[in-house]
Amino acid sequence: MSDDWMNLWHPVATTGDLPHRHTFHGKLLGRELAVWRADDDFVNVWENRCLHRGVRLSIGINDGRELQCQYHGWRYANRTAGCTYIPAHPADAPAQTICNRTFPAIERYGLVWSGEDPLGEVPGFAVLDDGAAFGLRSISVNASAELTIAHLAEYEFQPVGHFDGAAATMTADARSELSVTLTSHAHEAASTAVFYVQPVDADVSVIRGVLSETPADGDQIVTLRHHSTELARLRERIEADAASRPAPTPMVATIEQVPRSLSAVAETPSGRKADYRVVVARKWETAERVAGFELESIGNPLPTYQPGAHIDVHLPNGLIRQYSLTNGPGEGSVYRIGVKLEPGSRGGSSCLHETVREGDVLAISAPRNNFPLRRDSVKTILVAGGIGVTPLLAMAQTLARDGLDYKLHYFAQTDDHLAFAPVLDRLGDGVVRHLGLSPDDTGSTLTQLLAEYDGAYHVYVCGPGPMLEATRDIAADAGWPDDAVHFEYFKNTTEIDDSSTFEISLARSALTLDVPGGKTILEVLRDNGVPMPSSCEQGACGTCSVNVLEGEPDHQDVHLNKSEKAAGNRIMTCVSRAKSARLVLDI
């Protein structure tokens, strides 16, 4: 094999090899591949190995959106191959570093082309470019690609419509290292075919043939049979030749090491990074005063997301705002968010509503999930107030797909205020609409909904502050423990008191720093070169959370619940401070 085959595009399957919800088992240059078409028509070419125990993903289940390993049920997303769910850890979101290796895929001439590290374009064959190309049955040969292409140059076939007549004369029109274009002439008729040899391994190759013209309906099967028979005869000759030669050294694909601690690897991005550029592919009014946005990536594919995740959107006016993704499982070709025009907008929602238009480019962060969905819940209640429905829509679609027991209770003023109606319609009975309720009626409805608590029930609430607080109080009264009540605030309306001064010791970095009044822990850390991720920077989202080893935090955030605050072992560094003179942080 020549080294530059690693930089070529090779056919790895035919289009017909990827029917609905099938996973194709392929191999190229000694590397096994799992190839599958998702319901959105995207063709995935992946390393054929689950990152968990190395089981072949080609025996996995293609559910149209994700590929699920048969062994322990790890799920990988369409397009990104990022892991979205680990059934053994149903309460946790998988680390975003768990991502399978992907290879590019292009469909052309009825073949799926991929490669190790392909440069340039998929090979072009002028004779096939008029759109009438007709794929032949691929033939696998137990011989090297070099030997197969050498014999293929001598392949003889009859033109369409003249299979029984006098033997045709053959001409070779073009030839490359791995392809040959042959024309058969007989009875003043001619047929041209391109044959490309796929190097599967050192001693296996596949002949992938394409005729330049599609025969008339009545001639198609007989044409396919003719080539199937003649290529099988050619294969016998090639294999007999291969058997008389020494066996070639097997190809060895380089397989990246998977770190043992893979599932425990934490992310450590610093600051408010906006690594992705997206274009507003669609902007529409999805409900009264609510604009829907479809954000499509420019360049890099969008990263894997999980239900409950949000992104930072960097606006043209310099502001940064967080919006939850509404996407269901495996819908990663675009991100969908919903933005409500706030009456007292400080420039975030009004900019998105009034300034940003379809075709505009925005910078966004990778998705972060501080509102993860547990999947070990016997019953899940999702409570949405107004635009708070967005993360819960992603959750509802995931729970519906997994066949888990859930209900999405959507509180809104009127029908016209219900956002993302098509998604709600698809969820059918999973959605209960509560329209036009007064605060008191909302309270009594919530009391009914939360009347019953059983060990493995979980409730997720997202909506305006007063509604969240009411829900938390009602749940607590009905006996729901704090860890069964999950919530996400839009914003922190607490008046922040940043007057205290204290010292922080960083246990891992062996640094002691002073936090003066008027500065946050986060700012002090960054000023001293300690990388820290953050997002909302107002104590709502939970991105800048740090573990506390010693000292008493002065919590001023709305991310932690009462018991988490009382435990005192985590702190939101963007707003919270210390009651004690010193805090020891686990960074």
């Binding site: 609905h20 049955r137 396919l224 099988a232």
Partner: protein, 212 residues
Amino acid sequence: MIKLYDYVLSANCYKQRLMMDILGVGYESIPIDFYPGWEHKGDEFKKINPLGHIPVIDDDGFMLRDAHAILVYLAAKYDPTGLWYPTSDPELIGETAQWMLFAEGTTNTASAARLHVNLGYDFDIEACREGAHRLFRVLEEHLWFREREGLDWVCSGPHPTIADLAIFPDVILSEEGGVSRLEYPAIRRWSDRFKRTPGFSTMPGVFPAGHL
């Protein structure tokens, strides 16, 4: 109730369980210590089957041995639709018989390789594997052209027959015997289709297909 002299890892016993699960026929499994106990070769079991192999069924006193013969009996007796063993159509029943004989071939090659690797039999493993590939190439081409003709199964009818059922376990377990199916995409698509047959059940080493 039908008694099935059974071993969970046997492909031929799986064929009977699969047929009865698909037809909704209840049965009692009588486990035989096939490996490592070799119970089917013992004197006691030879009173049930002097050939010393399983499966054997006992349907209310009617005893029958040989996997593919039992499939004929079960389908003929318990499938009121007549689709699995289509006796009313001479061509279709002829094809069914032809592919049942083909299944004898896959049993004696692909499944034999698996018995050699996993369950202590001493066969000429290379001959088994070569034989399996020879048959798989024929099946691959056949199924590929079936798809082009709009047909899903080994015989020409619109519904799977006991021939599909007889071939399926030998094919789907072949990798345990060292017979890769990498070269056989049409066989793999047919396997997926077969797994979606209503009532389909699995065994160790056989995984279900996803929903369409």
